[in-house]
Subunit: 340 residues, 2 copies
């Protein structure tokens, strides 16, 4: 009896000492496995003072795609949901839209006719809803929309459909001296109004596509920046390394994407000398989120999946690797308090 | 006698306590006066917790023009000196330049013919020397040039002709939670290779003009970014608020310039709500540096000087307000050690 008591006591003491020796897991929503290990190992290597792979903090640049990497991108990019809602809200001021495509199709919920309008139609919708106003006015529209709009399947605010494991990864990297950037095909003016609150990433660390903006002195003598209906830069595919060069001016050592639009960013990142990390979020969980890859219209992942296999990049299997996908709505509120 | 001794002792003790109460001057190269006071007062106001003008650190964005504001811009922009030196170095590979303007004029030091080639000629020279190579190769050319070239009047490295009072101002702002940016008409690829070392401003906080860059997979299968001979963006005049919006995405609360090319940046900065600071370096010291303003071909300061008088912006009189202009060459070395 006494021996058994001593054994229990020893086991108990051992469990305490293990608990004390292990700091809190910085990635609690990641299941143990190859992906989590690859991330932790990389961070340990580049932050080990005097180690062979040490990288000074100023060079610890980490870039993240947004749609499908930090938040959901199905059933269509959330920025399009914003544009569609804007068309509905603006329709009373545009009576011609009742008879003009692609607006007619959108207002009549004629998804076949809308699809038939193709990329050209989508661009018309984006231009009609993203231009002809000041940058400040547009930012307010985005904030108002996020506060009221709900995702059709999850019935939650769009900015609560962010990936809890990726929020933890962003915070973990920053705690290890990384500077975290978004490098997205999304519009930069659409992303900046909320990313500091939701991801802890300030406006100057958000790289994206943009339209032409013009400086003007308004009627009241005050300067404004007017958004024009003209594409300036598409930060997607081969545009991502170009955007990284233009906005950041330093090659990342760590990059995460989820689609073929991220292939060149991952190639550019890993082609640098020294330790490099490339990660891909593979959407494999149709129950908790969505499952799609090579055949998907939105977020097609085909060439980049082959490149990952050939180059040893880390592929995150959402179903297997993530304990949680979205923050609970209460936690989402907490996530919004994250500071840069 | 005893009374006099006591008075001297008291005065001495008082001087000690004053010396102890005053922290070291963060702007030692600035003479006391309106400019220095305006800067110190502004920083005190926006950093006073609970004060009416308090600004959270994330919003303490400070933008600085470069040519004529942080370093000298006479007798011509240093980037042009780089381009001219490149033409000379590249001439053996371009025999046609011997007979082709504006290259012929430059190689023959025919300043009249060079001037006659005008802005178009200058652009040809910039394109011939800034394109047709990778971004990495160009950065190396800039670093090599700075290490060897000397300014024609001062016979010093170009990157030692930076203004000591402005280096102190950058450090002072950063010590008070500001994020310092360069917003310059100069080429962004020309500035980024040295600004972190010289100003403590990392590449991602340098905004400038740019040429088109294209992503390519090289013959060795490695990706490169190629600089093309096509202007993409001119970050000058009305382009400065546009560049600030594009790269920073947040309106500065503090901006410094020295010419009419900075007018719109200063207007944009001061038109925001809350406390705002606009400063202009007025070149009034032909002995220690140069004296020029309304009539100058380089760095013309005319409309912005009128706007400063009308709007109460701070005008720095270089001759009167600056104790030192350039760092001593030893101190310049120290300045190069500044970390972001």
């Amino acid at each position: 009896m006494m021996v058994r008591f001593a054994a229990v006591l020893l086991a108990y003491l051992a469990s305490i000492s293990v608990a004390m020796a292990q700091p809190a897991d910085p990635l609690p929503s990641w299941n143990d496995g190859a992906a989590k290990t690859a991330i932790s190992d990389f961070v340990a290597r580049v932050t080990a003072q005097g180690g062979r792979d040490f990288v000074p903090p100023a060079e610890r640049i980490a870039t993240f795609d947004n749609d499908g990497t930090l938040w959901t991108e199905q059933p269509f990019y959330f920025q399009l949901a914003f544009a569609f809602d804007r068309v509905k809200a603006m329709a009373p001021e545009h009576p011609d839209w009742k008879t003009r495509q692609p607006f007619k199709a959108l207002l009549e919920k004629d998804s076949k006719a809308l699809a038939a309008s193709g990329e050209k139609g989508l661009l018309q919708i984006v231009m009609a809803t993203h231009a002809g106003m000041t940058t400040d006015a547009f930012a307010n529209l985005v904030r108002d929309w996020l506060a009221t709009a709900r995702h059709p399947r999850f019935n939650r605010p769009y900015d609560s459909l962010v990936y809890q494991p990726m929020l933890e990864l962003l915070a973990y990297l920053r705690a290890n001296g990384f500077k975290t950037f978004v490098v997205s095909g999304g519009g930069v003016e659409f992303m900046r109004p909320w990313m500091e609150r939701v991801y802890g990433i300030p406006p100057e660390q958000v790289v994206g596509s943009s339209g032409v903006v013009k400086f003007q002195i308004g009627a009241d003598g005050k300067p404004v920046l007017m958004k024009e209906a003209k594409v300036e830069f598409i930060d997607d595919g081969p545009g991502k390394p170009v955007g990284i060069n233009r906005f950041i001016g330093r090659r990342p050592i760590f990059a995460f994407g989820n689609s073929d639009g991220d292939l060149q960013m991952l190639q550019w990142t890993t082609a640098g000398s020294g330790a490099r990390f490339a990660g891909i979020v593979h959407h494999t969980d149709e129950v908790r989120e969505y499952a799609y890859d090579r055949q998907s219209k939105v977020g097609k992942l085909d060439k980049a999946l082959d490149a990952a296999a050939a180059s040893g990049w880390t592929v995150v299997d959402m179903k297997r690797d993530w304990k949680e996908v979205f923050p609970s709505l209460t936690v989402a509120g907490a996530a919004k308090e994250v500071k840069p």
